[in-house]
């Protein structure tokens, strides 16, 4: 049911929603998360970003996260698209779209997938700063904490 894609190209939210909803009339709710490149991080001006991943393992990890969400909540369909390569401030990075007949299931599953993706899917961000330097982004404790709240 679910569509998982790791790609360089941008994505279009309407197109992804239609792919999920077209030709079916049993979906009551969709919740869509889109993550974007911000122009600031840790008080520094960001001019761009490179996203690396682990081909093969990344896709497996995302499928596993969707499977886990589907066990916990009623998920009729799910789409995850994560971009890799060079991105600029304002660019879309990631899309997670969940269709369900119940809105709370859609909200919970989408939020859960984002928390798990941020701690378990092998992607790494490298930021280019306005002063010409670059740095690998450090994992944040707040993301571990966010993923941990689903363990209870």
């Amino acid at each position: 049911m679910s569509r998982i894609s790791v790609q360089e190209q941008d994505f279009d939210v309407t197109t992804e929603l239609q792919a999920i909803c077209d030709a079916r009339t049993d979906i009551g709710a969709t919740v869509t998360f889109v993550g974007l490149v911000r122009d600031m991080n840790l008080d520094d001006s960001v001019s761009g970003m490179t996203l690396q991943h682990y081909p093969g393992m990344t896709e497996k990890a995302l499928h596993k996260i969707v499977a886990e969400a589907s066990q916990r909540w009623e998920v009729q369909d799910a789409t995850i698209i994560h971009r890799v390569g060079e991105l600029s401030p304002g660019d879309q990075i990631v899309l997670v779209c969940i269709a369900s007949s119940h809105r709370h299931d859609a909200f919970e599953a989408c939020s859960f997938i984002m928390d798990y993706l941020k701690t378990r899917a092998p992607f790494w961000k490298k930021e280019m700063l306005k002063d010409g330097s670059s740095r690998w982004v450090d994992a944040r404790e707040s993301d571990d904490h966010a993923a941990g709240r689903w363990e209870n």
């Binding site: 996203l51 690396q52 682990y54 982004v137 994992a139």
Partner: protein, 82 residues
Amino acid sequence: MATILYFARLGEQLKTSSEQISLNDMSTVRQLVDHLLDRGEPWSSEFESGRVLVAINQEMSGFDSAISDTDEIAFFPPVTGG
């Protein structure tokens, strides 16, 4: 020969993203890491400073996990996607 992969900061600092290593009598990830540490810099800095995660055959694993010569063993920093 096991395939060893390095991602993100690790791959950059070690100046290699992939190598083949004969594991011989190394049977756990920890033993492989000890072998890599014996190379000195930059290996020692990268594996001793900061957190390094390991995946065996594309599954998250621990440093006590068993490894064999047919495995794909990947080292990388904590993930930062999304």
